[in-house]
Structure formats: C-alpha cells, structure tokens
C-alpha cells in the first residue's frame, strides 16, 4: 500500500465512499459529468482501488478529478455501496493539500472559488449574497440581476426584509461575534490552513506562468486567467 492511498484512507469520506468496485457502470450511466466531460467515475474508482501510487499521483495532477459536479447521483444506485462523489472529494482535498491541483487548468480554478465564495464566508457569513455576485462575472444571470442590485433595498423591503438589517431577516447582518466564531472554527479545524495552502500554491504557479498575482481580490491577472481559461480539450470524445 502506497503512501498516497494511506493519506486517502485518513479521509472519512474516502473510507465511506470506497468499499470495492465491480465495474458495473451504474454511476457513469447517470453521471451528468460523464455525458459532457471526458470523464468516467467508474474508471476513477477502479484506478484508485488498485492502490497504485503512480496512477494516483497522476489523478491528483489531472483535469479529470475536477469534472465532477458533486450531485451524488452516483451514490443512490451503486450495488456495492460505493460513492464515487465522495472519493472525488477526498482526491480533490488531497490534491490541494499536496499542491498538485495547480498542475491542471481546472484545478487552478480553486483559487477563484476561494477568493469569491471562501472570502464571502469570512466577510459576510454567507457563501453568496446579492452584493457579492458581480454581474460582470455572471452575465448568465440576465438583466434582472443588475436590476435587483441597483434596486436591492426596495426589492428586499417589499419582499419582507432589509439587507444588512440587525436581528433576523433575509441577508441580515451577521453579528461580529458569530463571524468571529466562524473564523475560529476554520482555524481550529484546518479550514484556514486549506485556504492558505490554496493561496500558497497558486502564487507559485502564477509566478511560473508569468502572471501578475495579488494576495487578494478578483482583479488580478492570475485570478482572471483561472476564472476564464478553458483550453477546449475537456469534452467527451465521442458525442
């Protein structure tokens, strides 16, 4: 048993997610990612259960493990009780811990998520909030989104709330003590460490790629690159 497989075993999701795979394919049959990406959850589980150190490293550096949408449709029907989605989560966590995630275009995107959703958690106590969803980064939200942003106080007042209100209500201002507790939880449980790891390896990669990198914010070259770059090779080959 290689060292990487042992590391994976330390993740309770991996232990729960991998019993033994008999390659029946029910997971791939209904996987949304398998239809549109060059992705096959069955193959990933089969590879991992071989416990081959080299193949696992390759997975951790690959685009492949970032295609999953974590819908967990693969858990419902597996006849052996596996959950490829959990295995993917364990692989993704390990890939970030070991710094391999910056080897792939999809993996590098983790910085983009950390800088948006991740920082929202610390700043506001929400993963997403109206004021944090920038229409220029989300044109697919349509004209109604910019409208809501421009008129949010009126919109919310009619619908029964007050953004950043004190007390209860939609998008209330979360009390500072609660935000402090959240921050402490992240520190104590390794959440902050993961954020820092993502930043650290992204900074190194930005330097290798010759891209400008700021330690925060979404308007630096490296951020824009990882947020928007798609080299067009990710799709399923036979369509």
């Amino acid at each position: 048993m290689g060292k990487l497989y042992d590391l994976l075993l330390e993740d309770v999701r991996f232990e729960e997610g991998l019993k033994a795979c008999m390659n029946c394919g029910v997971c791939t049959a209904i996987c949304p990612a398998a239809e549109f990406y060059d992705y096959d959850p069955r193959k990933i589980v089969d590879t991992v259960q071989k416990k081959d150190e080299e193949e696992i490293i390759e997975l951790l550096k690959s685009e492949t493990i970032w295609y999953c949408g974590e819908c967990m449709s693969c858990k419902t029907r597996c006849p052996r009780g596996n959950t490829p989605g959990f295995i993917i989560m364990a692989l993704r966590t390990l890939s970030q811990k070991l710094g391999y995630f910056t080897e792939s275009e999809k993996g590098r995107q983790q910085l983009a998520i950390k800088r948006t959703v991740g920082e929202n958690i610390f700043k506001y106590g929400y993963c997403a909030a109206t004021y944090a969803v920038n229409p220029h980064m989300h044109p697919e939200q349509g004209p109604i989104w910019e409208y809501i942003l421009e008129n949010s106080d009126d919109v919310f007042e009619r619908l029964g709330g007050q953004i950043n209100g004190i007390g209860t209500g939609p998008l209330r201002k979360i009390p500072q003590e609660a935000l402090d507790e959240l921050k402490k939880i992240f520190e104590v449980t390794g959440g902050t460490e993961l954020f820092e790891t993502i930043e650290k390896h992204s900074k190194i990669k930005a330097s290798e790629m010759g891209l400008q990198f700021n330690s925060e914010g979404t308007d630096n070259d490296y951020f824009v690159e990882v947020y928007t770059a798609n080299n067009g090779t990710h799709n399923a080959h036979d369509t």
Binding site: T76, Q109, Y147, G191
Partner: protein, 353 residues
C-alpha cells in the same frame, strides 16, 4: 404510467416530519435570489398555521457551497453545523427546518457519518468547544422546508383561493417537479417518497389540483455542479445539463416547473434566458419560456397572495402566462413598486413579456 405503482413506493418511504417548534436556518442563495419565498414560509407558518418558527440571528451559512467546491475541509463543515446544533440547544429547540437542499443533504450526511464513525463526532465536539466554548446535542428531527409545506399541504388546500387548474381548458395544470439532488439521492429514506419517485413536490401539486408530468430526464441533475457554475470557464457543463432537462420535458408541454432547491430554481430560470440569448430556443408552448417557481411561491399563488409580494417579478422568466392560465387577477402596474407604492424603474429584456 401506472399511478398505483408510484403510490406503493410513496407508502414505503414515509418520513417523520416534526409539526411545530422549528429552528429555522436560511439558504444563502434563496436569501439573495428568492427572499420572498423564505418570507412566505415564515408568514405561513407563524401567522396562518400558528406555528413556532424561530430564527436565531447568530446562525451563519453552513458553508455547503464552499464544501462542495472542495475549498472547505469536512472537519470544518461538521463543526460549523455543530455550532448550529449548539445554538439550537441554547435556544431550546429540537427540530430544525432547513431552507436549502444542499444544506439539508449535509445535515443528514453529517449525522449519518457521526453514527458510523463516532470518532468524528468526538472530534467535532472537541473542535467546537475549543473554537467557541459551545456544546451541542443531536437534534430530534431534521426537515427541509419543502417537507414542512408538504406536511401542511392539505391545510393549504383547505384555504386555497386558487386551484392549479387551467381556467381556459378546465384541465389540471401540467407541472414538472424537480427535486434537488441532495434531497434524497444520498439517503433515499430521508426524502418523502424516496429517491426515484419522490413525493414531496408531487404531493403538493396533487393536493392543490394540478397534474404532475413525468419525463425521461426528471431525475437528472439541473447542472449546478458547484464549481461547474461558480467558475465562468466551467459554465458550459451547467447550462448543458439544464438544456438536457428542458429538451426532454418540452414534448410533454409543461405549464411550469416546480423545484425545492435554491440552485435548481435559479438555474432552471436563468439558463432558459441564456439558452434563448444564445440560439433563440425556448421550451414552452408558443415560443414562450417555462416559469420556474419555488414551492413557497406556488403555495402563495394557491392561497391568493399577490404574485408581486412573492417576488415572481424578480425571476428572468416572467410568470404571466402561468398567472393567466390560473385565472389569477393581478395588477401589472403593481409589479415594480416599492412596499409603499412608489414606482421603481421597469427592468428591460425579461422573458415572457
């Protein structure tokens, strides 16, 4: 399609849903995109059904979106959720009402994990105490807010001012129901009706006079995919999955889509706009798009609430075709007015208007 077969499955998956004294935890996406829905739920429960629903201002995101984008480790989310259990204990509540489906899936998953891996529960207790000094109990009942509306669907039906019938044809409205993946796919027993033929939304539709439409891609994910949407470069995945669902349901001519998951409602609404922008394709009858509603919005229409107090005007796909079919009287001039009746600007380029 044999309804008796479905009914037998539903009777196998009876889920216990508490009926009062709920600790309410909000959804990040719904607060931002469907605030009217959460407000309707609270009004319905407190003022109409006279139930005790408590919202603790110190509750935060469960970090589910971040967790499923793999930027947050599992120890962290377990502790964040344990903190909510601690708030429940402090406030004296044993039942939790969860507004977001991903969140609901996570609460259920974490409780299962603690059952099978007691060391994880121990670790979480240590972490929470070390970080906040708090202690927690395991709640007695975990319900998604759609479970609760399902539970009270007959009470709502009894007070209905409108039934889900097409007033022009006299036929029940054809309603596509879409259940969020994290509701029952992980633990079928945690969903009303299980994972294959869930009943939580179809039960509401039937109680309120409508007809549920099945179609081949009914169970398919809407395509949120967390990182597949959050990062612009990946959004092709997200829109492709929604496109697949709409193409599949189109021949069945749905009058509307009913969903119970925040992301799903947002994507099935917004991607219809994107797809129409990209290639002019629409999925409703007569070149229209299909209105996508939350279960609170639908319950509100059934109870005769003003659609503009529910927030339907803030979707991309406007609901007028549906309101007309329902024979609902609505005041178009009231759409974009403030609470005090002042005129707001009129947004342009929406769909179905």
């Amino acid at each position: 399609m044999n309804i008796e077969g479905k009914k037998r499955i539903w009777s196998d998956y009876q889920k216990e849903i508490a009926d009062d004294h709920f600790f309410y935890v909000r959804s990040c996406i719904r607060q931002s995109f469907f605030p009217g829905s959460e407000q309707f739920f609270l009004n319905l429960m407190r003022n109409i059904l006279k139930k005790d629903v408590y919202e603790n201002p110190a509750h935060t995101t469960c970090t589910g979106i971040a967790y499923h984008s793999d930027i947050v480790p599992s120890a962290t989310i377990m502790t964040v959720i344990a903190r909510h259990f601690a708030l429940m204990k402090e406030s004296g509540y044993k039942n939790i009402a969860i507004s977001c489906v991903t969140s609901f899936g996570l609460y259920t998953e974490i409780l299962e994990t603690w059952k099978h891996f007691p060391k994880e529960l121990e670790k979480t207790r240590e972490y929470l105490f070390k970080a906040t000094g708090r202690e927690f109990d395991i709640p007695e009942n975990i319900a998604h807010t759609s479970d609760i509306i399902y539970k009270f669907r007959d009470e709502i039906a009894n007070k209905a001012k409108n039934t889900l019938v097409n007033k022009e044809t006299g036929e029940p409205l054809r309603i596509v129901e879409h259940i969020g993946c994290h509701y029952a796919k992980m633990f079928p027993k945690s969903g009303v009706g299980g994972a294959e033929f869930p009943n939580v939304l179809s039960g509401m539709v039937e109680a309120w006079g409508g007809k549920v439409i099945d179609y081949p891609e009914r169970r398919h994910c809407c395509g949120f995919g967390f990182r597949q949407y959050l990062v612009q470069a990946n959004r092709g995945y997200s829109v492709s999955n929604t496109e697949k669902k709409f193409s599949s349901m189109k021949p069945f001519m749905p009058d509307m889509v009913l969903t119970n998951c925040p992301g799903c409602t947002m994507f099935m609404d917004k991607w219809q706009y994107t797809i129409k922008e990209m290639g002019g394709v629409t999925y409703g009858a007569d070149g229209e798009s299909v209105p996508v509603l939350t279960y609170e919005e639908l319950a509100g229409l059934v109870l005769g609430d003003n659609p503009w107090d529910l927030g339907l005007q803030y979707h991309m796909v406007q609901s007028e075709p549906l309101l007309k079919k329902l024979g609902l009287e609505f005041d178009s001039t009231d759409k974009y007015k403030t609470k005090n009746g002042k005129q707001m600007p009129i947004p342009k380029n929406l769909i179905n208007v």
